[in-house]
């Protein structure tokens, strides 16, 4: 009875512009993953040949990953199930390990939920959390940061770049300031990892979270970088894998595929991506202007941004209506996280930038580009948005 039948009409996305949510696997990544799934199945903790084979593959991959962020040693890389687990581990375990030194944590108002929710839980346990405000471009002020820092601060967790509006945080400056402070510095680099050149020594980063599926790797694999000397017990209790820092049999085929995805992202490849994606942003903005669509950017095209994320306020058209119409036209964009109820949770990022009463909260969409995105797809997106806007402003349905 439970035969699965999914008509292509239902799922065919001709144009995928939600690469900040997840990305398709790169062909070479898929090939690596498939090969290792089929051929390297030994448990990496075992002492016989198949186990050693897995172990070697895993350790070679760990070195590739360590190099990708200029870590001093591959021992500073802990493989996890992804960004959420890395964030949870870095925050919760640090707080509990270091609470004798103080119970104050600094973060921003626009972090991902995987950072905010563990912090909310810590607040219930008596920790004090400062949420740095952002301006209308989604940026924090270093003066605010300095003012918030005190002798009780044990952890600073600030994202490298925002997933909804693409604003970048002054990671290097924060790292410099924290040089003379007890607080450990964690950054959620889940969105930034695929396009920025990361150097944990240059920026004095103590902990850093990433996820493979945002960089054309497989889902449910990521890593947490932790500088030598930064120690905490495993969030997940169990076996002694990952130097006792993360229990559970390692997913070696996914780890190998993750390394393959990371290797593709050379500094040159990332620079090329940034330039191409910046061009897409300009193409969208110019295209919508040319077609007379009334819109504004949530964030900015100027200054330092993640180039794959573009958040648009399409004035007068609800997020849900725009997103649904685009979906019916075969174009996938993000409209925030939806309840099953048909209402969309108001974005805490846009709320922090513009206030809860701003019409932008209910009338914005996010598009995000990926390696497969083409200029023709951007044109099609622009044409469709313009057509939807024209149709909706002509149909006097009220």
């Amino acid at each position: 009875m439970q035969e699965v039948h999914v008509d292509n009409n239902q799922t065919a996305q001709e144009i995928y512009l939600d690469n900040a949510a997840t990305t398709p696997m790169a062909p070479e990544v898929l090939a690596e993953m498939t090969d290792k799934l089929a051929n390297v199945y030994g448990n990496a903790s075992t002492l016989y040949g198949l186990g050693r084979q897995s172990h070697t593959l895993m350790e070679n991959s760990r070195q590739v990953i360590a190099d990708s962020i200029h870590a001093d040693s591959d021992e500073e890389i802990i493989f996890t199930s992804g960004g959420s687990e890395s964030d949870n581990t870095a925050i919760t375990q640090t707080a509990h390990t270091r609470q004798a030194l103080g119970k104050h944590i600094i973060t921003t108002a626009i972090e991902h939920e995987a950072v905010l929710r563990p912090l909310h839980a810590l607040e219930e346990d008596g920790f004090r959390v400062t949420y740095l405000p952002v301006d209308e471009y989604g940026r924090i002020s270093l003066d605010d940061f300095k003012a918030a820092l005190d002798d009780e601060t044990i952890l600073v967790t600030i994202m490298m770049g925002n997933n909804e509006v693409g604003s970048r945080m002054p990671i290097h400056e924060i790292g410099e300031i924290l040089q003379d402070h007890q607080a450990w510095f964690h950054t959620d680099a889940v969105q930034a990892y695929g396009s920025l050149d990361i150097d944990v020594d240059r920026d004095h980063i103590d902990m850093l979270s990433t996820s493979a599926h945002k960089i054309n790797g497989p889902k449910m694999i990521g890593f947490l970088y932790k500088r030598e000397g930064v120690n905490f017990p495993s969030l997940i209790k169990g076996g002694d894998q990952e130097e006792k820092r993360r229990a559970g049999t390692e997913n070696v085929p996914a780890i190998a595929a993750f390394a393959t995805a990371a290797k593709i992202l050379t500094p040159e490849a990332k620079a090329e991506k940034r330039e191409r994606f910046h061009g897409f942003k300009n193409q969208v903005v110019q295209g919508l202007r040319d077609k007379g669509v009334d819109f504004e950017i949530n964030g900015s095209l100027e200054g330092e941004n993640l180039e794959h994320v573009l958040n648009l306020w399409i004035k007068g058209i609800s997020t849900y209506v725009m997103q649904t119409n685009l979906d019916l036209a075969g174009i996938a964009v993000s409209g925030g996280s939806a309840c099953t109820a048909g209402s969309i949770e108001p974005s805490h990022v846009l709320t922090a930038m513009f206030g809860a009463d701003s019409p932008r909260i209910a009338e914005s969409i996010r598009l995000s580009f990926g390696r497969q995105t083409t200029s023709a797809e951007i044109s099609a997106f622009v044409d469709n948005v313009a057509a939807i806007v024209a149709r909706l402003s002509h149909s006097e349905v009220k």
């Binding site: 239902q10 119409n325 149909s395």
Partner: protein
């Protein structure tokens, strides 16, 4: 087969078997079908968790099986403002409202229709048991369903032809067992699902008294006969409907075994009137007055005409003569034969043969010159 692929039909999918079969049939007929689940009532729990309702999961299962995209839309605010406040106001006046009639008028065939048009719909379709015919001018006429047991034109009687012009009722030609059979053959997850209770905010459990008490403070008072004999206490006038027998708690009086019925309410004195016998004369009216008149098609029938009518859902038609006031805002409906338990707040729905002409909301019932119920 006619090419319907360019005609987009947005189906209001409730997660029940009827709307599931609607979506299936339209898809089989080649339409560009889009499923939309409507959420009109907030059942979020006290932790603020935005819960996935079982119904929406069923919509997802059925839509995936049929191969159509599906979405959900939230009309909680619209429902609260346009239906629920009306519902409470009517109860406050001691009347027994019919929220489904207003929900169809204001939400399913207005807010939802508007939303569907925003999604590029040419039509919306629902799982209502009713049929439409289109006249030479292309205007829709509302007709009873083939399944007379299930006919829902009563609830659709406040819709206008302008609304119905963009509507399809694809299962109005089927009887319920056929609908279930089609769903079963197609392997739809909802094939054996129990029918819902109707009024969406009360839910399946139907703790109606508790529910109402949550919004309207109940004021207990005396239960008495028209002769002033106190028979007990009532829990609050809003909990009782004219003609109701159950829940009065009046024991036998040792004279006969005739049961007691609610025959009237006095809101000012907070008195519930009861009378003995199903055929208690106080329950029988010769005519009624009604307002909020709505005709599906604006056809001049003159100020006085004969047709049939229902005074509540699932009742046989009664022959009536309609007298419209000069301004068309009031109507007096005279019955061919006395009618029992006419209830203010319910709709009086007019029919000509199988065509539903429209309806009005009942204000008062009369026996010759005497107004009933507010005795």
């Amino acid at each position: 087969m006619q090419d319907n692929s360019k005609i987009r039909v947005v189906v209001g999918m409730s997660g029940g078997v009827d709307s599931s079969v609607v979506a299936l049939r339209l898809k089989q007929q080649g339409y560009d079908v889009v499923g939309v689940f409507m959420k009109n009532w907030d059942d979020t729990d006290e932790n603020g968790v935005c819960t996935a309702t079982e119904d929406y999961k069923d919509v997802a299962k059925v839509a995936a099986k049929i191969g159509i995209p599906y979405y959900s839309v939230n009309f909680e605010k619209e429902y609260w403002d346009r239906v629920f406040t009306y519902f409470l106001d009517e109860y406050k006046k001691g009347r027994t409202p019919n929220p489904d009639v207003i929900c169809n008028k204001e939400i399913k065939f207005k807010a939802f229709l508007d939303y569907a048009i925003e999604l590029g719909a040419d039509y919306i379709a629902t799982g209502h048991y009713a049929q439409l015919t289109r006249d030479e001018d292309g205007h829709a006429h509302l007709m009873r369903a083939v399944d007379q047991n299930k006919d829902q034109t009563y609830f659709l009687s406040q819709l206008s032809t302008e609304q119905l012009d963009r509507v399809m009722f694809p299962i109005g030609d089927l009887v319920k067992p056929q609908v279930r059979e089609i769903a079963k053959e197609a392997g739809l997850a909802t094939a054996e699902k129990k029918d819902s209770m109707g009024i969406c905010f009360i839910g399946e459990k139907g703790h109606f008294k508790d529910f109402l008490n949550h919004y309207l403070p109940a004021k207990a008072g005396k239960m008495m006969t028209v002769d002033g004999e106190v028979k007990g206490q009532h829990a609050g006038l809003m909990y009782y409907t004219i003609g109701q027998r159950k829940g009065l708690g009046i024991g036998g009086d040792g004279i006969d075994n005739e049961p007691w019925f609610v025959i009237g309410k006095d809101l000012e004195k907070n008195v519930l009137y009861v009378g003995k016998g199903y055929h208690n004369p106080h329950l029988y009216a010769t005519h009624l007055s009604a307002s909020d008149i709505h005709w599906v098609n604006t056809i001049d029938r003159g100020s006085d005409f004969h047709c049939t009518a229902k005074f509540r859902y699932r009742q046989k038609d009664t022959g009536v003569t309609v007298h419209l006031s000069e301004d068309g805002q009031q109507v007096t409906v005279e019955f061919d034969d006395p009618a029992r338990a006419i209830t203010p707040g319910q709709a009086v729905v007019f029919y000509s043969g199988d065509e539903c002409l429209g309806s009005a909301i009942i204000d008062a019932a009369y026996n010759r010159e005497r107004e009933l119920q507010l005795i």
